[in-house]
Amino acid sequence: MSHHLVEFKNVFFRYPDGTEALKGISFRITHGESVGIVGANGAGKSTLLLHMNGYLMPTSGTVTISDLSLTKKTRQDIRRKVGIVFQNPDDQLFMPTVFDDVAFGPLNLGMDETHVRERVHEALRLVNSLDLCNKPPHHLSGGQKSAVAIAAVISMEPDILVMDEPAANLDPKSRRSLITLLKTFAHSKIVASHDLDLILDVCQRCIVIKDGAVVADGPADEILANKILLEENNLELPLSRQNIKTP
């Protein structure tokens, strides 16, 4: 199936100041997969994510999303297919009310009022946030904001959902709700995170990035059991796998 595909082929990227952030990244994610992306700080995870909807363009190599090759012309279309949820919800909830934020995407897709309202309703229902509809974002708690930020992205019904550190600012309860929620989504999911337990819970596959290149790519179960590999990348075994001896 060529749709819902994310493919990076030998992607290199250099920042204007000369930093080589990506050095030959290659992988292929197919329809319905859920993939975790892990690595040390500065390994290139964020830069990688920024390529997925064309905010950054590769210096060389190709990025293919569904059957579209990423170019300046195809960026807008690609943005309809890839929904990215960022680390800080305050940066994504920029409209005066929750409704406005969740409606922002569908309106930009050119939908009419009835359909926009339907999409907003459905998206908020999926994240259990219908009661927040008319509130301004700055009246929401961290967990509520995260949920609404996700709703704002899924209201566009993207094929591929990309998330950058989704649970970073959440308390344990909200984090658990998020994990449960993500497991119900049928989208292809790409999650970049340091929270290895979350990745273990949500993703079937795991890609490890080091110094701008892929150093491991396989089933999450295996990768996240490989203590040596993880420690080479400034990571640890997921807490659930560490044999913490209680005194």
């Binding site: 309809r80 005066p96 922002f104």
Partner: protein, 269 residues
């Protein structure tokens, strides 16, 4: 006001503005126009008119009670900003000493009369402005402005300002606290330090703007911030408008207070 006071004060006003009462449910356009008409009417009274201003207090009182807005809150706010008006107005009694009237045997100078007029007008106009926000919510006012013809570029960035006002104030608060914890009295609060702090805040702000823009692009932004069709005016809105205009006209052009007073005097005789 200390920083915290200023911050929580507007946070409080902001929360009040999202309440749900029949005043809050009135169309924002109607409230904006009514407020402006109110202000022009009050301000159009001549310098020495005092007594005719009293009926106008009906508006703030009605808005506060029906809108369930804490009266003390409004009063405090009015008092807080009054120094400027007092400062300018207080010259009147000293400079305009012609006796204008004798009340209960005491001569009252024209200057005092105009001073009282200024203070009354001040209370009315300031409370009207605060009550507009208190009963409408800031985004409501912005949407009203856009529909009333203000440039959409202006209202769009006004909404962004509002959205990030609290976010940036919190950031600022954190920066100030960090400074205060290390400044031992006045040593760390010089201009040099402040400049650096503002500079840091500025850089963070620009970076934030970049991230926001990226988030907008990611959700399909192509230059115009679109919105759904706005609601229509309802009968209650039109009724409110009509009543307001009627009362303003009556209070402005008819000597209501004095008529009531004369009438009462007749009764007592």
């Amino acid at each position: 006001m200390t920083f915290d006071e200023k911050y929580f004060n507007i946070g409080h006003l902001d929360r009040i503005s999202y309440q749900d009462t029949c005043v809050h449910r009135l169309d924002p356009r109607v409230k904006v126009i009514a407020t402006m008409l109110f202000l022009i009417t009050v301000v159009s009274f001549p310098k020495y008119e005092v007594v005719a201003l009293f009926p106008f207090f009906l508006f703030p009182v009605l808005l506060m009670t029906i809108g369930e807005i804490p009266i003390l809150f409004i009063v405090k706010k009015v008092l807080l900003v009054s120094p400027f008006a007092v400062f300018i107005g207080i010259f009147n009694p000293f400079l305009d000493t012609r006796t204008a009237a004798v009340i209960a045997g005491i001569p009252v100078s024209a200057g005092w009369i105009s001073f009282v007029a200024i203070m009354l007008k001040f209370s009315l106009t300031i409370s009207a402005a605060i009550l507009l926000i208190a009963t409408t919510s800031f985004p409501g006012v912005c949407h009203a402005l856009r529909q009333l013809g203000f440039p959409s570029l202006f209202t769009a960035q006004l909404l962004f300002l509002y959205r990030y006002l609290f976010v940036l104030m919190e950031e600022s608060m954190r920066i100030i606290r960090a400074r205060d914890m290390r400044s031992f009295g006045k040593r760390g609060t010089g201009v040099k330090v402040v400049v650096r702090l503002i500079g840091i805040l500025f850089l963070r702000t620009v970076d934030r703007a970049e991230r926001i823009y990226y988030a907008m692009l990611s959700r399909g932004f192509q230059g115009d911030i679109l919105s759904l069709k706005q609601s229509h005016l309802r009968t209650s809105d039109l009724a409110f408008m009509a009543v307001t205009i009627a009362l303003l006209t009556v209070f402005r052009f008819f000597r209501v207070t004095e008529q009531i007073g004369s009438f009462a005097q007749e009764l007592l005789r």
